[in-house]
């Protein structure tokens, strides 16, 4: 194929150009900048959430997070739609299940759940929060699935769909709640802000954990399916 | 709102025709005829009002600063009346002609829409509205040209579109440019561009663009290429193209352009009218000479149309009141003359399968009434008094002499001779004894015969009544007078 080198030149040129542009752009920046951190920190302090990142994610920019949960659910559904049998999550994972992994899983998963809970709890004051907790929870779920534990009864049909949707629906309900109280979308009343944020955080942790697990379960190849082909 | 009716009624007729579908032939015929009659009555009532000095107008706001508007002035109504009345006549003919054809709903539906668009062109109150209807006319004609669906028809349709859309593009640029330059410019007798007359270069280019756009439909040489090809369409469509709506929309656009947009004075001052006149004169001679050599009957008529349309353009471009009035009168006169001829050609082709001049012998014996009608139209076209063609040519000639363009008079005389040259051989050939075995005097279907007789009679009536109020010639004089600052001598 004589054309090959020429074809490769385009990506190379594109990536080098982007690289040069970004370096040049970054070089032009002043050495210090505060961005929005001052306002955000002040705002977080006022509402009593010490971890500013958590405040940004769940309060100031909660709308982003709402849509992001939608992204996760959407991706899960999209992955489901690519299955030949989209009405069920994978039952048998072609995992690396073995005695060692099984034992490890038994040991680790409870720890991970505890860690996740801890992350959520401290999320409003120190590093941690819904995303991290949810991620750990999701990793735990995947570990369970890989080691052959995951054959939940809810993994197909209507129950599965409920499990997938309930997190987002609840979040939407919470987001709409302020509308009845005269606020805008996601405008938590000041007096109950901290508790509502915590509630959303717990909800999100479960939701992200469940979403990530089901994303994997929706995606993972069913061994039976693979054998059939 | 009444002023919209000449557009809306045919449009509605078209919609109903489509809705009725292919099977309900009687209902379709009834709806179309009723539509045509009601539209004609509306147009006539508008004419009466307009003669009385009451010009109705109405506009719908569309684009910012631009209104989509129509007005029922005498000038526009003349074209509108020609289109609407001849629509009814053509309908009767077409119902007979298309008796066994396929896709008749499509045919009659688009036919009605064509008339709606032609009426829109006629009554448009400004260049933009005119352009809009002009393009709709192009589009609605296309399905009629390609009606048979044969590869020949598709090719002719492609050619038609190529020209029509090219012309439309020129028109679009011209109209937009003009609006950007001068703002909204409603048609005004005597011209609407006095305030920007200093922009001579721009105005010349814009005139060129607009004239090219109208020139396509007016078959102004060298933009006439589509017209002979479009002959493949069914005969009623040819009549529509050549007599009733399409080409007339082109020359009518020229008339509006010279008389009511630029105005005769500005057109002459810019030199654009003279250029147009030269081009039109060339078209007259060219069309006539080429027509002489055509063996195919419909092609010969087509080239005759090329020549006759240039009569109108030339008369308009001379910028003298009588010539302009003659041009406008010729628009109506040519319509009735040429429609007679195309009806005849269609009858010959449909009833006797005669399409060539060489196949004509015996036809006059076989279909005496039809051929007599043809003869009337042919003589009228050649300008024999007291037929319709004479009246308009008289005006054109006097106007040419008066307007200081005696060369144009020469062109008119020469082309009259040429017209005799290409028409008379047809008549002579048909009178020769030939081999049509059926009994003499068997005419075509009466639904095709009577329209022919009617339009031929109109050629006579228009000529005889040329001096009376309400006749096309008088009407044209009245309508064109305001562009030249008042009443005619």
């Amino acid at each position: 194929m004589p054309e090959r080198p020429r074809i490769r030149l385009v990506p190379l040129a594109a990536s080098l150009a982007v690289f040069a542009l970004v370096l040049r752009a970054v070089h032009a920046l002043p050495d210090t900048a505060t961005g929005l951190s001052a306002e955000m920190t002040a705002g977080a302090k006022a509402s009593g959430i010490k971890n500013v990142v958590t405040a940004v994610l769940l309060d100031f920019r909660g709308y982003d997070t709402l849509l992001e949960i939608a992204v996760l659910m959407l991706a899960t559904i999209a992955v489901l739609s690519l299955r030949t049998d989209p009405d069920a999550l994978s039952r048998r994972i072609s995992g690396v299940a073995g005695p060692v992994l099984g034992a490890l899983t038994r040991a680790y998963v409870p720890i991970m759940i505890v860690v996740a809970g801890h992350l959520v709890w401290i999320g409003s004051s120190g590093p941690g929060g819904a995303f991290q907790g949810g991620a750990v929870l999701g990793a735990a779920g995947i570990l369970l699935a890989l080691s052959g534990f995951a054959r939940p009864r809810w993994s197909s049909g209507a129950p599965m769909r409920w499990v997938l949707a309930v997190g987002l629906l609840t979040f939407i309900a919470v987001a709409l709640l302020p509308l009845a109280l005269g606020g805008t979308l996601l405008q938590y009343p000041d007096e109950s802000r901290k508790s509502l944020v915590l509630l959303v955080e717990i909800l999100l942790t479960l939701s992200i954990g469940a979403s990530l697990t089901s994303l994997f379960l929706a995606s993972a190849s069913d061994t039976s399916e693979g054998e059939r082909r | 709102m009444t002023v919209w009716l000449p557009v809306l009624l045919p449009a509605l007729t078209g919609v109903v025709t489509f809705a009725l579908g292919d099977r309900r032939g009687t209902a379709r015929a009834a709806v179309n005829l009723v539509g045509a009659i009601v539209s004609s009555v509306v147009v006539v009532s508008l004419v009466i009002k307009s003669y009385a000095g009451e010009v109705l107008s109405h506009a719908v706001p569309t684009l910012p600063g631009l209104d989509f508007g129509v007005h029922a002035d005498l000038l526009g109504l003349l074209f509108s009346a020609v289109a609407t009345v001849l629509w009814g006549v053509t309908l009767v003919y077409a119902i007979g002609y298309m008796d066994h054809a396929r896709d008749r709903a499509r045919f009659f539906g688009f036919f009605a829409w064509c008339i709606a668009a032609a009426n829109g062109v006629a009554l448009a109150a400004d260049p933009i509205t005119l352009f809009i209807f002009y393009e709709i006319l192009s589009l609605t004609t296309y399905p009629l040209v390609v009606h048979s669906g044969s590869s020949e028809a598709i090719a002719a349709g492609r050619k038609y579109l190529f020209y029509a859309l090219g012309g439309g593009a020129a028109l679009l640029v011209g109209v937009t440019w003009l609006t950007v330059l001068a703002g909204p410019v409603p048609f005004t007798p005597g011209g609407a561009l006095a305030s920007v007359s200093g922009h001579t270069t721009e105005l010349r280019i814009i005139f060129g663009l607009l004239a090219a756009g109208f020139g396509v439909k007016a078959a102004l040489v060298p933009l006439h290429g589509w017209l002979p090809g479009a002959m493949v369409a069914p005969a009623p469509v040819s009549s529509l193209l050549h007599a009733v709506a399409v080409v007339k929309a082109g020359v009518f656009g020229m008339i509006r352009l010279v008389n009511e947009l630029y105005g005769p004075e500005l057109s002459s001052a810019l030199g654009v009218a003279q250029a147009l006149a030269v081009l039109a004169a060339f078209g007259i001679i060219f069309g006539s000479v080429v027509a002489l050599r055509q063996e195919d009957l419909k092609r010969r008529l087509a080239y005759s149309t090329v020549a006759q349309l240039s009569y109108i353009t030339l008369g308009t471009a001379l910028c003298s009141p009588l010539a302009a009035a003659g041009a406008l009168a010729h628009l109506a006169h040519h319509a009735v003359m040429k429609i007679t001829m195309f009806f005849t050609a269609g009858s010959l082709a449909e009833t006797l399968h005669v399409k060539k001049v060489s196949a004509l012998p015996g036809v006059a014996r076989r279909m005496p009434v039809t051929m007599t009608s043809f003869a009337v139209a042919a003589f009228a076209l050649a300008g024999i008094p007291p037929l319709a063609g004479f009246a308009s040519k008289w005006l054109l000639g006097v106007g040419a002499a008066e307007g200081g363009a005696p060369w144009a008079l020469l062109v008119y005389v020469a082309s009259g001779a040429l017209a005799i040259g290409y028409m008379v051989p047809i008549l002579i050939a048909s009178l020769r004894p030939g081999d049509h075995p059926e009994a003499a005097g068997t005419e075509s279907d009466p639904r095709m015969l009577w329209p022919i007789v009617t339009v031929a009679a109109l050629s006579i009536i228009f000529g005889l009544t040329a001096g009376l109020p309400g006749s096309p010639a008088h009407w044209a004089l009245t309508a064109i007078a305001p562009s030249f600052g008042g009443l005619m001598p």
Binding site: A14, S15, V18, G35, V53, L57, L74, L82, R83 | -
Partner: protein, 106 residues
Amino acid sequence: MTTYDVYVAGGAVLFALGTYGLLERSHLVHKVIAANFMGSGIFLVLIGLANRTPTPEPDPVPQAMVLTGIVVTVAMTALGLAIVKRYFSETGRTTLDADEKPGERR
């Protein structure tokens, strides 16, 4: 040169590398991995630049953006891999062929 310049420059390299990989590598899983590198590159740039605050705490907004970005990227990745797998099941291929005209099959 400050500490954070190193990470920002590294992020730029990573982004460029990912772009190159996404455009040039033909194995579909490689393309997905490359897209993830692009993402990581951006996250490095974001957080690196967030560290320009005078306080020891970096700007929280980019951190929140990166957290969002990580989750969105995993969603995209999952979809990409699911299509790769289905595509492989249907055609037995792991690459997109440029010379294959669309619609030729069927």
